[in-house]
Amino acid sequence: MAAIATTRLPDPTPQPARLSHLRQLEAESIHVLREVVAEFERPVMLYSIGKDSAVLVRLAQKAFAPAPLPFPLLHIDTTWKFRAMYEFRDAFVARGGFDLRVWQNQAGLAAGVNPFDHGSNQYTRVMKTEALLAALAAGGYDAAFGGARRDEERSRAKERIYSFRDRHGGWEPRRQRPELWNLYNGKLGPGETIRAFPLSNWTELDVWQYILVEQIPIVPLYFAAPRPVVERDGTLIMVDDDRLRLRPGEQVRTETVRFRTLGCYPLSGAIRSAATDVPAIIAETLATRHSERQGRLIDHDQDGSMEQKKREGYF
């Protein structure tokens, strides 16, 4: 038999230096931020106080420097965020001189909608999805930046960078436009809007590496510290204030924990960790066997739940 011709490993001669993966991601994200600002009338940036928002705001500052951000930040406030998040938000806005708009669903608050009595599904729909849609409509925003990443959850893997939403803010996966090269189609019909996701191609690890190299301040809850928690349905919930109703038999313990993602405190699971700085978090991220959204209770309330929430208008 003739000798098999095989593919050989490429010649290891030095290649021209390429931009590192982080700088390539940064350049791509800045491009998206600028395209949206150039092509839309009234953009806004969703600000959730978390680490992805922190990275997104840093990228936006770079995109438009030395000018200030050419759009406001919008925080959809369920009133159930961690106290440390509100403190961080207010200091962050004061230091950065940002134009922050805060929106709360007043009807939902008046009706007393909360994560305990209404279940995470209905609570999220009223206090987050409906609040977001109302805030976007009230502001007349035609483009809303979000920090969502495609690696977070599997229905997000098909999300576009310009994600089209119908007149009701809904996402229809079969009606999304193909995205080729870096040529985004920003044409809208009446009432249509987009959500723009400049971090689409970033992973959790990329975000942490960028926070490290750029020295981006983040909420202290990401770092391990002794905190009061209860274990509920296999998840560690932090007792952030006296609104958390203890169930019979539940004991508040102090444990050294941190959070991989931050949301409403009754719905955000903590992890046991000793990581008190960003390098330690990165080491832990590499070693973990659990995805970042595992602690997000709202993702797991039904199969395909993220997909369903997005169709209804969730980010």
Binding site: M1, A2, I4, A5, T6, T7, R8, L9, P10, P12, Q15, P16, R18, L19, S20, H21, R23, Q24, L25, A27, E28, I30, H31, R34, V37, A38, K62, A63, F64, A65, P66, A67, D151, S155, A157, K158, R174, Q176, R177, P178, E179, L180, W181, N182, L183, N185, K187, L188, G189, N201, D206, V213, I282, A283, L286, A287, S291, Q294, D303, G304
Partner: protein
């Protein structure tokens, strides 16, 4: 599990430094469910440690709803479930769209565009390939190179990928037969080389068992080459000698205080402070006074960085302009010779005006000519009147404002464009600019349907009249239209379509048909003259109404 040792706390710094210098590789994986594409990608993610326990659990839970391979076996996890994203897809066992996956090793971060490979998904393949450096296609070792394989290779070549990796999958099912592998390797290599793909790599694998993907294949002692992951980690991503500088301006940064910067992402080449540059379209020359990335000032920058450039002179620059080197200019043109991948349900309509986006510049375009439809299996080009969903075609477009272009083969970023439907706003085509072809560029510019329509101020139509007095009514209608300022002519049926295509109203008497009239095949009730005026006006029904 993790493709490298997880660092201890003390090693984190060294680890981070290594990851700081990490490169980025974008690949597109093309194949159908039957080729084992989902399993191959699942294998890459799983064996490189990028699959978490709860994701695996979710996939297994979902498999109770519907798996392509049944369930109940715990020995072999159905890795294809890891990549089937949407509920409809899991239930139907299909993939309906491009999905993006991510994994990383110490050497590179990988972005995987996961695209379904059936014939009707050409548009998805084009989408996934448009941002990729490397194409990975799958061949079932039992079936060998199929028409579909040749189609995938053609798309990879069309989209300008210089590396094609052919995974000859399911080698276990042919007993790891080296002769089988070699036959497939030789055939696909010959085909891909003929397409102009510079580097073709063929690997024997079994994605289901993990052989040859991340771990070497146990069944192929005769194979001395790399595994798929080894190849992807080392394949060089070098930009061929492209243009010296292409910087499409996205927006002008002008916060006051005398600062005026032009922001954009370098599409090709690079620039340094002090360089002489030209601004298109004005052609004005000036020098680079400063390069800013955020608050940092830089001496130089190169593609693909996003920068803000300050210029030495007060030059008029706006979004859609381009900064270039005066000694290496793109072609400034309104005529585009291009290949299109048609992506919309509605076929290309050569009489319509589309929106075109090229770099940061948008314009309207007319279709001057549909030259040919390309068969992606045989590469044969045949003249055609239509370009439909998933068709590939060669066209000549005429832009309403000049564009600054390079051939796609020389520079992807300045050779690519998209077409947008002006009414539905859908993205209807992906375009790749070719150098103007001598045989496509006649000395005399042909008069097109668009030209005629513009000149005559009307669209063509075919009006058929039936009944015993059809001829008399035909000439009466011709007179009525003439008096209304329209050009119509009574002709035999054989010429009607050509006359209508030339924007003239063709009136065809058909005494052989029953009484009545049709316009473009549709029956007309009521005032025939008015109906014809509206049909021929098409875009100005209001004006016909007022007559």
């Amino acid at each position: 599990m993790w493709a490298e040792a997880v660092p201890d706390a003390g090693d984190v710094d060294a680890f981070l430094r290594a990851h700081d210098a990490k490169d980025l590789l974008r690949l597109v994986v093309i194949g159908s469910v039957d080729d084992g594409k989902s399993t191959l990608i699942g294998r890459l993610l799983y064996d490189s440690g990028r699959v978490y326990d709860d994701q695996l659990a979710a996939a297994e839970k979902a498999s109770a709803r519907g798996s392509t391979r049944g369930h109940g076996s715990t020995a072999a996890i159905d890795l294809s479930l890891l990549t089937d994203g949407l509920r409809a897809e899991r239930e139907q066992g299909i993939t309906i769209d491009v999905a993006y996956r991510y994994f990383t090793t110490a050497r590179r971060k990988f972005i995987v565009a996961d695209t379904p490979g059936h014939v009707q998904y050409t548009r998805n393949m084009a989408t996934g390939a448009s941002t990729a450096d490397v194409a990975v296609i799958l061949v079932d070792a039992r079936l060998g190179v199929l028409a579909q394989t040749r189609r995938h290779a053609y798309l990879a070549a069309l989209l300008g990928l210089s590396h094609l990796v052919v995974c000859v999958n399911k080698m276990d099912l042919v007993g790891w037969d080296p002769a089988r592998f070699e036959a497939i390797r030789a055939e696909i290599t010959a085909h891909a080389s003929a397409l102009g793909i510079a580097h073709v790599h063929a690997l024997p694998v079994s994605a289901l068992h993990g052989d040859g993907v991340v771990r070497p294949g146990a069944g192929a002692p005769w194979y001395a080459g790399p595994t798929l992951l080894e190849l992807l980690e080392t394949v060089p991503v070098v930009v061929a000698d492209g243009p010296a500088l292409r910087l499409p301006v996205q927006l002008v940064v002008r916060p006051g205080l005398g600062y005026r910067g032009f922001a954009g992402q370098l599409a090709a080449g690079g620039l340094a402070v002090g360089d002489e540059i030209a601004v298109l379209p004005s052609g004005r020359r000036t020098r680079v006074a400063g390069i800013d990335v955020g608050s940092e000032s830089r001496a130089a920058a190169a593609a693909p960085e996003s920068v803000t450039v300050r210029l030495a002179d007060e030059v008029d620059v706006a979004r859609g302009d381009m900064l270039v080197r005066p000694d290496d200019l793109p072609t400034t043109t309104t005529r585009l010779d291009a290949r299109l991948v048609w992506m919309a349900e509605a076929p290309l309509d050569p009489t319509r005006t589309y929106l075109l986006k090229h770099t940061t510049r948008a314009t309207r375009v007319d279709v001057e000519r549909l030259v040919a439809v390309i068969d992606p299996e045989t590469l044969a080009e045949t003249p055609a009147a239509r370009l439909e969903l998933n068709d590939l075609g060669r066209v000549v477009l005429r832009a309403h404002r000049p564009l600054f272009v390079d051939a796609y083969a020389r520079c992807r970023a300045t050779g690519a464009f998209i077409l947008i439907d002006a009414l539905s706003h859908d993205t209807v085509a992906a375009g790749m600019i070719d150098p103007p072809r001598a045989d496509d560029a006649p000395e005399v510019e042909r008069v097109t349907a668009v030209d005629r329509r513009a000149r005559l101020g009307q669209a063509g139509a075919v009006v058929e009249l039936g009944g015993g007095d059809a001829i008399g009514r035909a000439f009466a209608l011709e007179r009525a239209l003439f008096e209304a300022g329209r050009i119509a002519i009574v002709v035999a049926a054989a010429h009607a379509t050509a006359i209508a295509a030339a924007a003239v109203i063709a009136i065809v008497p058909r005494a052989d048909l029953p009484d009545g009239a049709t316009i473009d095949g549709a029956a007309v009730e009521g005032d025939l003259t008015r109906a014809v005026l509206i049909a021929a006006g098409k875009l100005d029904a209001g004006r016909a109404d007022r007559r």
